[in-house]
């Protein structure tokens, strides 16, 4: 069964349409990144999946149940953007409270505190926590009861690089155990290897929804090849390969995916004058820019 099915969903606030006919579906075990500027409609979409915001038109189903129904909510783990808790409680008390609401054992709640690396600070008041620690409590509560669908809104904001790494390990474990994960983010570079699918939203429209390699292919963005050579040969080789000289001994070339092998062959045939070659496919940042600019203009 499809874990999350969004069918032609729109949201209007008066005349302002913040989500426009978005369709998206997630299967069990899939990790999907939802990308977009501030105000693109990502958070509104998540709130509609949770039933916090009424849907203007269209339909959202979680495990075949209407979004917002009690059964749908018990299948979802949610980490809100800038998550907040009552400062007078300790991390453990807060998490145990949420565990009771989801009928999860206290033992399991304590295990999760361990899993997100908070066991040392668990009995301190949340008001003494850093933003990263509050985010960890937020993640722990979203993991309670092994949700079938995890909705993570800007989950890595406020986390340092090592914590981000640990965070994506947890997300991978979650997906491996059969949960569908939908996460929104601004930090594009960290998503590249850690999601199965990328959905790009802009001004309420869903502009793209496929794997990173498919996005690259359909965007036809050029691949950049950096060739390092000696100072004496740089100009000659730049002319020969049809590239531009960047500094004393580097040349930048661009080509399409289909021409990549041919170009590498040509470079290799030059022999010893070539010191090094770097091949850089279009980054997620390039793709994101490509999709949000080209489709918006249309």
């Amino acid at each position: 069964m499809t874990t999350l099915n969004i069918e032609n969903v729109s949201k209007k606030y008066g005349t302002l349409e913040t989500v426009k006919g978005v369709s998206l579906s997630l299967q069990a075990g899939e990790r999907v990144a939802l990308l977009g500027h501030n105000g693109a409609g990502k958070t509104t979409l998540m709130r509609m999946i949770l039933g916090l915001t009424p849907i203007t038109s269209g339909r959202i189903e979680v495990l075949g149940t209407e979004a917002g129904a009690r059964r749908a909510r018990s299948a979802i783990g949610f980490l809100p953007e800038s998550v907040a808790f009552h400062g007078a409680l300790s991390g453990r008390e807060q998490l145990q409270h949420f565990a009771r609401l989801k009928s999860v054992s206290m033992k399991r709640a304590d295990d999760l505190l361990d899993r997100v690396g908070l066991s040392d600070a668990a009995d301190r008041k949340i008001r003494t926590y850093s933003k990263g620690m509050r985010q960890r409590i937020g993640l722990a509560q979203a993991l309670l009861g092994q949700p079938k669908l995890a909705l993570l809104d800007e989950p890595t904001s406020g986390l340092d690089p090592i914590s981000r790494h640990e965070f994506y390990d947890i997300v991978a474990d979650l997906a491996n155990s059969g949960s569908a994960v939908l996460l929104s983010s601004h930090a594009l570079t960290e998503l590249e290897a850690r999601t199965d699918r990328i959905a790009i939203m802009s001004k309420g429209n869903l502009l793209a929804d496929s794997s990173l390699s498919e996005l690259r292919h359909s965007a036809q963005l050029p691949i950049q090849v950096h060739v390092t050579t000696s100072e004496a040969d740089a100009d000659r080789i730049a002319a020969e390969l049809g590239g531009a000289r960047v500094n004393g001994r580097s040349i930048t070339l661009t080509c399409q995916q289909d021409d990549k092998i041919a170009m590498l062959g040509q470079i290799a045939s030059l022999g010893a004058v070539i010191k090094d070659v770097d091949v850089m496919p279009a980054s997620l940042e390039d793709l994101y820019r490509h999709y949000s600019i080209s489709k918006e203009g249309a």
Partner: protein, 272 residues
């Protein structure tokens, strides 16, 4: 089960925020002072000393219990909405009614505990001064039960306000106005109308019902013994007698239910 979880958490927060301590100290302090001060002149009058204490505590409770009820409740929804904790709670598999009832149970327990401590101190002090032999405890039990109803009514009103407005600052302002109107201005208005009417139809037919319609006045009437020492209270008592104890009881029981019902309706419309 969810209701118990919410109530447990709210009790913990009330303890941490010193709401329990504040309520208990307020009630305890005032009841002890009134019991001791009220007891001084009664020896020669031959009135049951506990009745005297209950009368003066009733006068105080009319002000204090609505105030504590509103202070406990005004932050309940607006505060969570403002801090951003409400949205997350609402994504859990429980209904808004369960959240509201859970909070109500916790706050009701705090209130009940504070009132019980206050009245318990009154009983203990009176027994210590006069012995338990000739005391009638029925008025004290009635005062306790009706105090709970009065507090519950104002808890409900506080939740209603808290659901209707977005900011806690606004909510706190509104509950203070409601408190002033219910315990002070409403009576003054009615007294003014009584004087102006000079014993006409308003005094005989409409006034008694208007009086019990206010839960604070219903509470005052039901707990004031006949021929009370307080001249203001006895004036209102005489005129209010028309609605009878039944009317007062119905008012005290209906207010909490109606207030909580409307709070629930308003809370259902809150979009965090």
């Amino acid at each position: 089960m969810s209701i118990i979880a919410i109530a447990k958490l709210e009790l913990l927060i009330a303890r941490r925020n010193m709401w329990v301590a504040t309520s208990v100290i307020l009630m305890g302090l005032f009841t002890v002072v009134l019991t001791l001060a009220g007891g001084a002149p009664t020896g020669s009058l031959g009135i049951d000393p506990l009745t005297v204490a209950v009368t003066s505590i009733t006068t105080l409770s009319v002000y204090l219990i609505p105030l504590i009820g509103l202070l406990l409740s005004f932050d309940a929804i607006a505060g969570e909405s403002e801090r951003g904790t409400l949205a997350l709670s609402l994504t859990y598999p429980l209904s808004r009614g369960e959240i509201l009832i859970g909070k109500f149970l916790a706050h009701f327990c705090v209130l009940a505990f504070a009132i019980a401590v206050g009245l318990g101190l009154t009983a203990a002090l009176t027994i210590w001064q006069y012995g338990a032999a000739d005391l009638s405890f029925a008025p004290l039990a009635k005062l306790f039960a009706t105090s709970l109803a009065l507090g519950a009514a104002f808890l409900g009103i506080g939740y209603l306000v808290s659901s209707l407005v977005r900011q806690t600052g606004v909510a706190s302002g509104i509950v203070i106005i409601i408190w002033l109107v219910c315990v002070v201005l409403y009576d003054l208005g009615l007294l003014g109308a009584l004087v102006a009417d000079n014993g006409g139809t308003f005094t005989k037919t409409i006034f008694p019902w208007l009086l019990v319609a206010n839960p604070a006045d219903a509470f005052r009437l039901i707990n004031m013994p006949d021929g009370s020492v307080s001249e203001l209270a006895s004036g209102i008592n005489a005129a209010g007698g028309a609605s009878g104890t039944l009317g007062q009881l119905v008012s005290l029981l209906l207010w909490p239910i109606i207030a909580l019902f409307f709070a629930w309706i308003a809370f259902r419309k809150v979009e965090p």
